[in-house]
């Protein structure tokens, strides 16, 4: 059933329009090229430094080198990736490959680094193409603009978050998400081994994707290792396939051996691990990612102020840092109990658990897998230790795939994408980039709202009035943070207020979207047709 649908979709793609897909991909690539002279963050120097480290030092020193403060803290495959890039980089400007050249940013360097992001994004484009082929063409509309595949392609290729994080702020998320989406597409196409291989490779490129590993693990176990279901949809224990488990295990072990093996031989594994998981950093990033801990911190602050006003607390005993907070790494709680890494780990685990159970007990094929993937990403975003605001993309991108299939998911997507993207605004704080981030955000938001609305125009409205009001209020918030606040005298005394407001306000929306998605997944009834699958 689903296979037929996918085939239909693929045929529709082939017949109607390689053209539009190419146009979309080219268009966004051109836009990326235009952004080459834009502002870039310290991540630019991070990656330049990694180019230099991998190019000029032997393997044994990669994870020990500490001339720059931006030490190598990605898994080995990413280091090898930088190594490969560095061999092209030397034709642009060999100076960028010298470890001691801190903050080196000649024009050729900028051009090369930016171009490398743009070109490696072709993997992302290919992955999006594959994802579009997985979408069944049930809703095939005459108008190209209303085809689900077209909308999906725009939502993924022109994703606001990816554009500003990769092509202005500077990171290589594009091809990493490409790997992830490609593995998702392969799983949807029932090419499980390929999907598992891609995900294993991805994990060794950037370990943040371990957040969604439970979804992969359970899904593969449930639909690949057990080859059949009972009539009521529960697992048929006797259909367990040893061969499949062995194959999966082999893939994971081989990839890990390829990546970590050399360091195991050198006896550097502990050093690599300690670089990859720096628990010494604080609970929240410098700018609070809009998650549960942002709300927790804000609550703590509010209670502190309240306590001081009502003389419940002794002002002299309060740690100094907490009052200037928001900008310091170590945040000390005054009223509420402090949070330890272990506590966040437990919270994350508990938050992920129901979604994983759901995937196991209510199998719904690729849709269920995607839901679980998004929930894993969101839950770990909500409760993780030292979460970056950029990690929200890990939930937004897979949710795009769901949003074009069901009106309910589309509503959640709109809330999550809009607040999540808005929470990325503080990444770009330089005045010349202010118009570009607002324009791009408007472009993406207007498109996602109008296209999804027209896609589901026969169903009830995607958002209720409360959600609409919440989203509209982002506009005054932005105006206050960027225009009004800098003109007030508080700017000097409380510079963190705009960041705090943004992250708390967005945290509300993201928490709401998370809960709503959870409720919808848990209460969803498996239809008879899907059971038969």
């Amino acid at each position: 059933m689903r296979g037929a649908g996918a085939g239909q979709g693929a045929r529709a793609m082939a017949a109607g329009g390689r053209g539009w897909f190419r146009a979309l991909a080219l268009g966004v690539s051109f836009l990326k090229c235009l952004l080459i002279p834009a502002y870039y963050s310290t991540d630019f120097e991070v990656h330049r430094n990694w180019l230099a480290i991998t190019h000029s030092l032997p393997l044994s020193q990669w994870y020990y080198e500490a001339t720059s403060e931006w030490t190598l803290d990605y898994p080995p495959f990413f280091a090898w990736f930088e190594y490969a890039l560095s061999h092209i980089a030397k034709y642009f400007d060999p100076q960028m490959l010298v470890v001691e050249n801190l903050n080196y940013a000649s024009r050729a360097t900028v051009f090369f680094q930016r171009l490398s992001v743009i070109l490696t994004d072709s993997l992302f484009i290919y992955a999006v193409h594959e994802c579009c082929r997985c979408i069944n063409g049930k809703r095939a509309a005459k108008d190209i603009l209303e085809k689900p595949t077209f909308i999906l392609a725009v939502l993924l290729l022109w994703n606001f978050g990816l554009l500003i994080v990769d092509h202005i702020h500077f990171q290589y998320n594009g091809f990493l998400f490409g790997l992830m989406l490609l593995s998702v597409a392969r799983l949807c196409q029932k090419r499980y081994l390929e999907g598992a291989l891609l995900f294993a490779v991805l994990l060794h490129f950037k370990h943040i994707y371990i957040y969604v590993a439970p979804a992969y693990g359970i899904y593969l176990l449930r639909s690949y290792c057990f080859t059949a279901n009972n009539a009521d949809g529960s697992v048929k224990w006797r259909s367990f396939s040893f061969l499949h488990v062995t194959l999966l295990g082999l893939i994971v072990c081989l990839v890990s051996a390829l990546s970590l093996g050399p360091f195991l031989v050198l006896g550097q594994l502990p050093q690599v691990i300690s670089r990859l998981f720096p628990f010494k950093r604080g609970l929240c990033h410098a700018y609070w990612a809009p998650n549960f801990w942002a709300l927790y911190n804000a609550m703590d602050k509010a209670l502190t102020i309240l306590g001081l006003k009502c003389n419940f607390l002794d002002g002299t005993k309060i740690p100094k840092a907490s009052m200037t907070g928001g900008l310091v790494q170590e945040f000390q709680h005054t009223v509420l109990p402090s949070v330890t890494p272990l506590a966040t780990l437990i919270c994350t685990f508990i938050a992920i658990l129901p979604s994983v159970f759901c995937l196991w007990f209510k199998p719904q094929g690729p849709r269920g897998f995607l839901q679980c993937l998004v929930l894993c990403a969101l839950s770990s975003f909500m409760f993780g230790w030292h979460v970056h605001e950029k990690a929200i993309l890990l939930a937004i991108l897979p949710l795009s795939l769901l949003s074009i299939q069901r009106a309910k998911d589309a509503g959640i997507y709109l809330i999550l994408a809009t607040t999540g993207h808005f929470s990325l605004f503080p990444l770009l704080f330089t005045p010349p980039e202010l118009p570009i981030k607002i324009l791009l955000m408007l472009l993406f938001t207007v498109y996602s709202f109008s296209s999804l609305k027209s896609l589901f125009r026969r169903e009830k409205p995607l958002l209720n009035w409360l959600e609409t009001i919440y989203l509209i209020q982002l506009v005054p918030l932005e105006i206050f943070c960027e225009v009004i606040f800098p003109l007030t005298p508080w700017k000097q005394r409380f510079p963190f207020v705009p960041l705090l407001l943004t992250s708390v306000y967005c945290a509300l929306g993201i928490t709401y979207a998370w809960l709503k998605l959870y409720v919808s997944v848990l209460t969803e009834r498996t239809s008879v047709r899907q059971k038969a699958e």
Partner: protein, 498 residues
């Protein structure tokens, strides 16, 4: 999706591209002592803010006319004054007399870019949107895609938001066309007068406006309604000119000085490497040395006049909106090719009218717009805008390909040459291969675009080559547009319907 959300997305996309281009370099960045057009605009702000209005166009101890003296009409000066007022509020150093000369900083660049952005947003873009909505016999989707193509035309974006220039005069001219197409003749002539008073180059468009309105008066009968309309129009033009020139109207010397600044006859036939006929001819004959400046002036005037004549007569005799738009193109092109003291940026005056007819002759219009951007390449290279050029041009081509599927529309009918080819039947058999020739030429231009030969022994080789290639194209286009205009018969519209 709804028409309005599509149009919003189009505008947002256009604005994004504009701002992204403006992140790049500008004319004369970091090149003392003269800098470039950016500094010229900043200098005008300095002059207009600090000096009394009577000294704006005169050479005084505070106003060295050799250093970017004002040489545009009063509206430009007023606009500079307004900008200077805002600049003063933000940072007085930006417009301080004398000391601010050659001022360059990131905040100032941001300010200047914003002024252009705002001007574009308030004047040019609304005109384009309204024009596209007012197109007749087109679906909503076609309207949006024409708007997208027009707004993404790289020439204008690169010159305004890269090189640095205000799109106000072109925007006002567009408003004038828009008004005329709604039969609001008086409002249209006010808008055109404003455009003309913003930049004297708008004279390139003046003849079609004049002929169209005159023809309209003739059509209504010169003894009845037509005369009334003519009188009203003349009155409107006089009043709007008077309003613009009011502060200078106190004595004749002021007006004469402004006019001398606007039309610097002693500057020579052409400057730099412009893609017009004189510059291209000078590859063979050094015209500037052979003929005296007076004769040059007369010669260029005569040739321009002759090349304008057919289209203008046709328009006066048979005034139609369609003919008017085509005449705008061909007259501006004649001026660009043959007139005196042409600047390479003036090709935009041709391009904007071409944009207006992009939905009628998508193939030729796209081709022309690409060539016109190509002809700006030497200028853009000087400003280090190669990257935005190399990005926006193929993007524009892709958009045109997607929205009009231009390559399929190369039959004689699509090129609006049906009537012409019918009248030539029998003589010219090669004419059928015209589309093929055209196609190969386009790809040829594209290739020469792509494989930029670095100038080696001859430093000017590259700009001259660009100029000559573009000039040949423009000559071809001039012939083409004149053919379309002259062979345009009234029953064409009926044919289309059947």
């Amino acid at each position: 999706m709804e028409k309005w959300s599509l149009m919003t997305i189009t505008v947002l996309l256009a604005l994004t591209v504009r701002w992204a281009v403006s992140l790049g370099s500008y004319s004369g960045a970091g090149k003392p002592p003269m800098y470039g057009d950016y500094e010229a605009q900043r200098h005008w702000q300095e002059i207009t803010y600090n000096l009394p209005i009577r000294q704006w166009y005169f050479n005084t101890s505070d106003n060295n006319l050799l250093y970017w003296g004002l040489d545009y009409p009063p509206l430009t000066a007023y606009h500079s004054f307004v900008c200077a007022y805002i600049a003063k509020l933000i940072n007085p150093e930006w417009v301080a007399l004398h000391t601010s000369r050659g001022h360059e900083s990131q905040p100032h660049k941001l300010f200047m870019r914003t002024t252009v952005f705002v001007a574009d947003l308030l004047v040019y873009i609304p005109a384009v949107i309204l024009y596209c909505f007012s197109l007749k016999e087109t679906s909503a989707k076609k309207k949006v895609s024409s708007a997208l193509c027009i707004l993404l035309y790289p020439g204008l974006i690169l010159i305004d938001h890269g090189h640095f220039q205000y799109p106000l005069s072109l925007g006002l001219a567009l408003w004038a066309v828009l008004c005329l197409s709604h039969d609001w003749d008086l409002l249209g002539s006010v808008a055109f007068c404003l455009a003309l008073n913003y930049k004297q180059m708008e004279l390139y468009h003046s003849l079609p406006f004049f002929c169209y309105l005159l023809g309209k008066c003739f059509k209504k009968g010169l003894k009845g309604k037509g005369l009334v309309l003519l009188a009203k129009l003349a009155g409107t033009v006089l009043v709007s000119f008077a309003a613009c020139w009011l502060p200078f109207g106190t004595d004749v010397e002021q007006i004469m000085q402004v006019l001398r600044r606007l039309f610097p006859i002693d500057r020579g036939l052409f400057e730099d490497k412009v893609a017009n006929i004189w510059c291209s001819l000078s590859v063979l004959i050094k015209i500037k040395n052979v003929i005296s400046p007076r004769t040059q002036l007369k010669l260029s005037f005569a040739v321009t006049f002759l090349s304008l004549l057919p289209a203008c007569i046709k328009l006066t005799v048979q005034p139609s909106l369609r003919g008017f738009k085509f005449a705008l193109v061909s007259c501006a092109l004649s001026f660009f090719l043959f007139s005196f003291q042409v600047h390479e940026k003036s090709i935009l005056l041709v391009s904007i009218p071409v944009c207006l007819i992009i939905n009628e002759i998508p193939f030729m219009a796209t081709w022309f717009l690409l060539v016109s951007t190509f002809s700006l390449l030497p200028l853009l290279l000087k400003d280090e805008l190669l990257l935005p050029y190399a990005v926006t041009t193929p993007a524009f081509l892709a958009v045109c390909l997607a929205s009009f599927s231009i390559l399929e529309k190369t039959s004689a009918e699509d090129l609006q040459l049906k009537a012409f080819s019918l009248s030539l039947k029998g003589y010219v058999s090669w004419f059928k291969s015209f589309p093929r020739i055209v196609r190969s030429l386009v790809s040829g231009t594209g290739l020469s675009d792509a494989a930029l030969p670095p100038p080696q022994r001859l430093p000017d080789l590259f700009p001259v080559a660009v100029a000559v290639v573009s000039c040949l194209h423009f000559l071809l286009f001039l012939v083409y547009f004149n053919v379309v205009i002259l062979w345009d018969s009234k029953n064409r519209g009926q044919k289309k319907i059947s």
